[in-house]
Amino acid sequence: MRRLSRLPGEAWVALSCAALFALLAPAVPGFASAGNLRNLFSSLLPLVAVAVGETLVLVTGGIDLSVTAVIALASVLGARVMTADAGLLAGNPLAVPAAVAVMLATGLAVGTVNGLAVARLRMPPFLATLAVTTFASGFAIWLTRSEGIAGLPAGFRALGAGRLGPFPTALVVVLPLALAAHALLARTVAGRWLFAIGGNARAARVSGVPVERATLLAYVTCGACAAVASVLYTARLETGSPVLGQRLFLDVIAAVVIGGTSLFGGRGSVAGTVLGALFITLLDNGLNLRGLSSFTVLMVKGAVILAAALVDAARERMQGSR
């Protein structure tokens, strides 16, 4: 028991994923089939992309509510650029790269606005990103009159379901992203800065940490990660949608919190988030396959997140009392 309690938090999440899989595999027909696993994997990857970005922000003690709005707005703007019906660059061979660039730029721009509002103007992250969310998703719906944009080029759709050699294209995008984010947090000076800001921003400033710049970096990266997820989701859906990702935020927070990142800031890891995303995807997929209504699935997810948040708060209390 003693040795068990010394396992890193990530190992616990990995064990929980294995246990959940072992529980669902016999209980849910078709759960462990190759087709379903591929399906599971393709919903996991974009979620990992968003959740990894959110991890960076939570580590600083902030929160970014705008990731889902970034996904929707980038989806719409990208589709506007490349759609075969009326796209700005319809038929142009550069339409797809240009559209992807526009989508990433959308994420970077929204992230910059969030970052400046929080770091420079000292607005509370919750309020700043909530306002940005409202604006961006309203803008996306206004642009499209609430209708999806179909007719995306095949080259773009391949990003969703296509393969590069033996690997799904999405994996080729998300794996390097996650590895880079992991390296950023664990191995670079900037990563240490983010943890220090989340742990004690005053002490960080005294110690020469560029608090403003590092905080800005976290929000900008988070926006970019959400844009990457938007590319994957849009390609999978084959439509630019102004309501894309609308119900995703709960899953993002669930993945991050189950992964052991503290909502109080100062603690977290990308590996944990990836495993947390796996856990929530397994749960979602398994319960859906089992034929549970989406409301029941929501209730179960809510309970799981509550449990993860309880563990987080308990850990915080234990540290406080030592």
């Binding site: 900037a190 002490a203 005294v206």
Partner: protein, 501 residues
């Protein structure tokens, strides 16, 4: 005239270190007792005993003849002892009336009884002679009015003993006069008052009797008419405590490393000029609130100065902690929990925090080199972390937390080191290590500016001492002139006991 409050040979030790040793005093109704002593003389502990915050180890206290052993501030208040603390504990976002009666606001059913609250508040405000609306927000009041609100709050109608701890520190002269009038009125109403202050002149004017504490013992007491400021200071200072300070090499003064000229910031300090040379330790003395912390923070660029200039090794220093660190300046802050450490981060992360760029290439941390440097640094500052550097900094003792802060700064090999109360709240053994580190720093050619409330510490470590009072340098002493009484007198703003004019 029977005694209202009698303290008989009360002693108290904290973790084996005696703070009060056989202290006795007697306070009669309708009298003001002035209590004076240096920082750490035991004044606050003695008053905490009376206020029910601290239990005495031995000794007895009697209130109006009955045994008095309060088991908490609430019981002390219920028995009629009102203790008005030095730090105000008011809620600035609530009204005066609410502050006066929290947590027991008058209610009618489930609702607050506003009318009754207002009436009660008016009564209390009248008692302290404060003319503000009961519904004014405390945050909108000046410091003088806030002090009166604090007194009004503690002053239940039946308070027989009223303790005032440094009530005038943040008051202007007219505000202080109003407070004195109130003190006299409370006395004339037949209450007994204990008045604690560093302003010796005020104490002599207000008090009927005086008690002087030094190192936890009563070293003088009697009617105030038998004392003057010089005598009080002589009693307060006394002999030195038995701390050993590391020998400082007789250093030939080096090049100026830190040059501060005409530095000022808001109301905190003004027109401060000083120079610290390589290998020199300059002490900064002064009372709490004299501007020492503010000055160090401004030099480091945390709170940039309004006027003046800081030069490091001859070149101007742009304000900001990053610039300061890049130029070899370190600031060991006074408050290690708020400003010094990331408590939940590991000891290793804390040690590394101020010098990460030096252990990285292109933003990538050189993990192995950093780990080696941290282990070496932990050993150099004698950090005692039995469970390893991977544990949260929170798990360290106070002394080791302070060593971790020092280790963090010394890792960057600073050439100018600003130390703000580096030994506050740490045990004697850890203090010795800190003294050793300061001496070694200077021996290695660093310029050290050391702010401390313990005059003894400055005399033991510094080559020169500057005395700050109300934000200005009022005296400067070189080693040959070191004199506790002169420093204390300068800090208090009174003529030194030696009779200089």
């Amino acid at each position: 005239m029977s005694a209202l409050l009698e303290v008989e040979s009360v002693s108290k030790a904290f973790s084996g270190i005696p703070v009060l040793e056989g202290v006795s005093l007697s306070l009669a109704a309708g009298r003001v007792l002035g209590l004076v002593g240096e920082n750490g003389a035991g004044k606050s502990t003695l008053m905490n005993v009376l206020g029910g915050v601290v239990f005495p180890d031995t000794g007895e206290v009697r209130l109006a003849g009955d045994e008095y052993r309060p088991r908490g501030p609430a019981e002390a208040m219920a028995r009629g002892v009102a203790y008005i603390h030095q730090e105000l504990n008011l809620l600035p976002n609530l009204s005066v009336a609410e502050n006066l009666f929290l947590p027991r606001l008058p209610r009618r059913g489930l609702l607050m009884d506003r009318r009754r609250l207002e009436a009660l508040a008016r009564e209390r405000l009248l008692a302290v002679g404060l003319d503000v609306s009961p519904w004014a927000l405390v945050g909108d009041l000046g410091p003088g009015a806030r002090q009166l609100v604090e007194i009004a709050r503690a002053l239940a109608a039946d308070a027989r003993v009223v303790i005032l701890d440094e009530p005038t520190t943040s008051l202007t002269a007219p505000e202080a006069e109003r407070l004195f009038a109130l003190v006299r009125r409370l006395r004339d109403e037949g209450r007994g008052l204990v008045y604690i202050s560093h302003a010796l002149g005020d104490v002599l004017r207000l008090a009927d009797d005086v008690l002087v504490l030094r190192d936890g013992e009563v070293v003088g007491s009697g009617p105030a008419s038998g004392f003057d400021e010089a005598r009080l200071i002589t009693l307060m200072v006394g002999r030195s405590v038995d701390t050993v300070y590391p020998a400082r090499a007789e250093a030939p003064p080096g090049e100026p490393a830190l040059d501060v000229s005409g530095l000022g910031r808001g109301g905190a300090f003004r027109d401060v000029s000083l120079t610290v040379r390589r290998g020199e330790v300059v002490g900064l003395a002064g009372l709490m609130g004299a501007g020492r912390t503010e000055l160090l923070r401004a030099i480091f660029g945390l709170d940039p100065p309004d006027s003046g200039e800081v030069r490091v090794h001859g070149r101007p220093l742009r304000p900001g902690p990053r610039e300061a660190i890049a130029r070899g300046v370190a600031l060991v802050t006074e408050d290690r929990r708020e400003d010094g450490l990331v408590l939940d981060a590991t000891i290793a992360d804390n040690l590394a925090l101020a010098s990460l760029p030096a252990h990285a290439r292109g933003g990538w941390i050189d993990q192995r080199a950093l780990a080696q440097a941290l282990a070496a640094q932990a050993a150099a500052v004698r950090l005692d972390a039995p469970a390893g550097l991977g544990r949260p900094a929170r798990t360290l003792s106070g002394g080791n937390q302070q060593k971790a802060v020092l280790g963090k700064w010394l890792l960057g090999r600073p050439s100018v080191v600003l130390l703000d109360e580096p030994t506050r709240g740490i045990d004697v053994g850890a203090k010795q290590h800190v003294y050793r580190l300061v001496a070694d720093l200077a021996g290695g050619g660093a310029a050290v500016l050391l702010a401390s409330s313990e005059i003894e510490e400055l005399l033991g470590l510094a080559d020169r001492v500057l005395v700050l009072r109300r934000g200005s340098v009022v005296d400067e002493l070189c080693r040959a002139e070191f004199d506790r009484e002169r420093i204390l007198a300068a800090a208090l703003g009174v003529a030194p006991a030696g009779g200089r004019s």
